[in-house]
């Protein structure tokens, strides 16, 4: 009987070691070595790691490049921000306003009544569900419309990018309902618990790490299930999958919705940790930057995406502090380098140069995981539409 058929648990030994190492770094090493200020930065970066994780499944595995993940990050973040803003806008806190009890920016925009779609966000239960489901629903509608009609490849990328643009313009334009370009700011408490203190931020950091690990496990489960292999198969030979009796579009919709929900959890954690949400995390530029986190980490590597996010953001912060003008060169160079020179990112370099010296537990001889130098990008341009 073959070796491939022996595996029953969804994590291979090297995956478990990888996850444990990551958890050790995030839970023990970083909190012990970094001061509070720096740790909060890491916490913020980790919220982007949720997006990168979704992109590994959606782009790396299924070959669907979404340039609109910021929209989902933003939707999750805004859902959370709406709840926190309502809590911060209690009539007692806002009694100097013309209409007490509504968010301050609404008052400034002569709105005298809480808009209907804000109402349910008074409930934390609703908000938590909405964080995951609102973006997923949005992705479902979008995915259904596009994938059922076999829109893919660059067309999908461009349309999602346009949606990121639309979303930003909409949020900025409707400032009475959304807080406009400044976003939703001045968030204070969660059920009376002040989220602005250092201790709260540390706790939120650990909550974020725990959620991230849970999402990583989920991603590993999806990857190792038959669905994960179908995604790879689809990226390679979509027609063959279709003619093996699968409804290809439903798998694409699923993975796109999953990626959207993961991004949204990141967005909600961002709002909690950083204390505000604004359109600057929604638009074209942040959305495409999120793709680079995944690309740098390795588009096919779940753990790589986390490291990629941390590395790129760490580089961004350090460069922006000392040589702001160099950062765009660096970022631009990264985009080109991950495409031309190391298409499998950090994970690919690890697999090629380091893992072979470390033995099988670190993926050294796990030949099956070794990926080809240039993963094929499906959906050759104008052929996407039929």
């Amino acid at each position: 009987m073959s070796k491939a058929s022996g595996r029953t648990f969804f994590l291979r030994p090297q995956d478990i070691i990888g996850i444990v190492v990551l958890a050790f770094i995030l839970v023990v090493v970083l909190p012990l070595t970094l001061d509070n200020f720096r740790l909060q930065f890491v916490g913020k970066y980790l919220t982007y790691a949720f997006v990168a994780l979704g992109l590994v499944l959606c782009w790396g595995y299924a070959g669907i490049l979404s340039l609109g993940q910021g929209v989902f990050f933003g939707l999750g973040g805004y859902c959370m921000a709406m709840f926190l803003k309502l809590e911060a806008s209690s009539p007692a806190n806002t009694k100097i306003q013309t209409t007490p009890g509504i968010p301050d920016f609404m008052d400034w925009n002569q709105i005298t009544e809480l808009p209907w779609f804000w109402e349910p966000f008074k409930s934390f239960g609703f908000t938590t569900v909405a964080v995951v489901l609102v973006p997923a629903f949005f992705a479902l509608v979008l995915g259904y419309a596009m994938f059922k009609r076999r829109v893919g490849g660059v067309y999908f990328a461009i349309i999602t990018q346009a949606l990121a643009a639309i979303m930003t313009i909409l949020i900025i334009g409707q400032q009475g309902y959304t807080g406009g370009i400044n976003g939703i700011t001045d968030l204070r408490t969660l059920h009376g618990w002040d989220i602005r203190t250092d201790s709260a931020k540390t706790i939120l950091y650990f909550v974020c790490v725990a959620l991230l690990i849970a999402c990583i496990l989920l991603a590993f489960y999806v990857k190792s299930s038959k669905l994960g292999r179908i995604l790879v198969a689809m990226r390679d030979k979509e027609d063959r999958v279709r003619f093996s009796g699968y409804d290809v579009s439903s798998f694409k919709i699923f993975v796109f919705c999953l990626a959207a929900s993961l991004s949204a959890i990141g967005g909600a954690m961002f709002t909690l940790q950083v204390g505000f949400m604004s359109p600057s995390f929604v638009g074209i530029v942040p959305s495409i930057e999120m793709v680079i986190y995944t690309a740098v980490g390795g588009r096919l590597s779940i753990l790589g995406a986390i490291y990629g996010t941390l590395v790129v953001n760490w580089a961004k912060t350090s460069f922006s502090e000392s040589f702001p003008e160099l950062w765009l060169f660096g970022l631009g160079g990264l985009f080109i380098a991950v495409v031309l020179i190391f298409p499998n990112g950090i994970a690919g370099l690890w697999q090629t140069y380091i893992a072979p010296h470390l033995g099988p537990l670190f993926g050294g001889v796990a030949k099956r995981k070794a990926t080809p130098p240039a993963p094929p990008s499906p959906g050759t341009a104008p052929a996407a539409a039929e």
Partner: protein, 308 residues
């Protein structure tokens, strides 16, 4: 397209639709032409297209400065020289980029998209470092200033008219090049069957390089024209890139006529709605409309049906 109308009718329709929409239309067409050639013919998504355009705008700006300071007597015609320089500057940069980067990525359109986005970030920073972060504007020669009265109430700006005229001229030139010249025939041959084109002795690599260069060169000319109606900054190019991609995709990637029709539809929809709504809502509704139509009809307005 407009031959069904008399000139007088055309004039009144144009005025009704709004002059502003037509200027937007011109900008879209100028940007989309180059993009449509590169995307439609080569399947390459060039996210740095806006930056190639801005290069043309900077070249025009410096040419105008040169004329202003050294040969003011010829200032009236500097624009035509600037346009030629812009074409060659952007085109040369485009060919260099094709050689260094794009040609390694022809089978990976999504990766091309990311790489050219990286290129656009680098070019933006280059412009910022070299030309400064502030927006620059050219001085218009005398003959381009002022406006023409069309009726007693309506006046149109000469520079706007000039840009429109230029758009028409460039479009015709591109159409002739693509559909009438031997070179255009070779380009289309490579698009339809690369292997066969190579087999009959067409140097497909050279065709790719020149096609990309041509697309970028046209972007440079577009940038040049752009200076006549607006100022130029390091990030001006990025403002239009998404709209322009939608124009190209909406038009049906391989159809020149489709590109023009779609540029016209989108610009007119936007400018007309701006009359009733706020600018941002007009843009949201226009883009949303285009996206929804693209979802229902992914192949765009015009499409060449092929047997597969």
């Amino acid at each position: 397209m407009f031959s069904d109308y008399s000139l007088a009718e055309l004039g009144s329709i144009f005025i009704m639709q709004g002059f502003a929409g037509l200027i937007l239309f011109s900008v879209f067409v100028l940007m989309a032409l180059g993009l449509a050639i590169i995307f439609g013919q080569m399947g390459v998504i060039n996210m740095a297209h806006g930056e190639f355009m801005i290069l043309g705008a900077y070249v025009t700006y410096f040419t105008s400065q040169l004329f202003l300071h050294y040969i003011p007597s010829l200032f009236g015609i500097y624009f035509f020289i600037a346009m030629i320089l812009a074409f060659f500057a952007s085109g040369a940069l485009g060919m260099a980029v094709e050689w260094l980067m794009i040609r390694r990525l022809y089978k990976r359109p999504l990766d091309t998209l990311l790489a050219t986005w990286g290129l656009s970030l680098i070019l933006q920073q280059v412009y910022r470092s070299v030309f400064g972060p502030r927006e620059v504007g050219v001085e218009l020669p005398n003959w381009m200033m002022g406006s023409l009265p069309v009726t007693e109430v309506v006046e149109v700006q000469i520079n706007g008219l000039f840009v429109m005229g230029l758009t028409i001229a460039i479009t015709i030139a591109v159409a002739l090049l693509m559909y009438k010249s031997a070179w255009g025939k070779q380009v289309r041959a490579v698009v339809q069957n690369r292997v066969m084109a190579g087999a009959v002795g067409i140097n497909t690599e050279k065709i790719d390089r020149y096609t990309f260069g041509l697309g970028c060169g046209i972007a440079g000319v577009a940038g040049s024209a752009f200076t006549m109606i607006g100022s130029t900054g390091p990030t001006s190019g990025q403002l239009y890139i998404v709209d322009t991609f939608l124009v190209v995709v909406f038009g049906g990637a391989q159809s020149l006529l489709g590109t023009i029709a779609s540029a016209f539809t989108i610009s007119q929809a936007q400018s007309t709605m701006e009359f009733f709504l706020s600018g941002s809502m007009a843009k949201v509704l226009t883009l949303l409309g285009v996206v929804i139509i693209l979802m229902l009809r992914p192949q765009g307005l015009f499409v060449i049906k092929v047997r597969r």
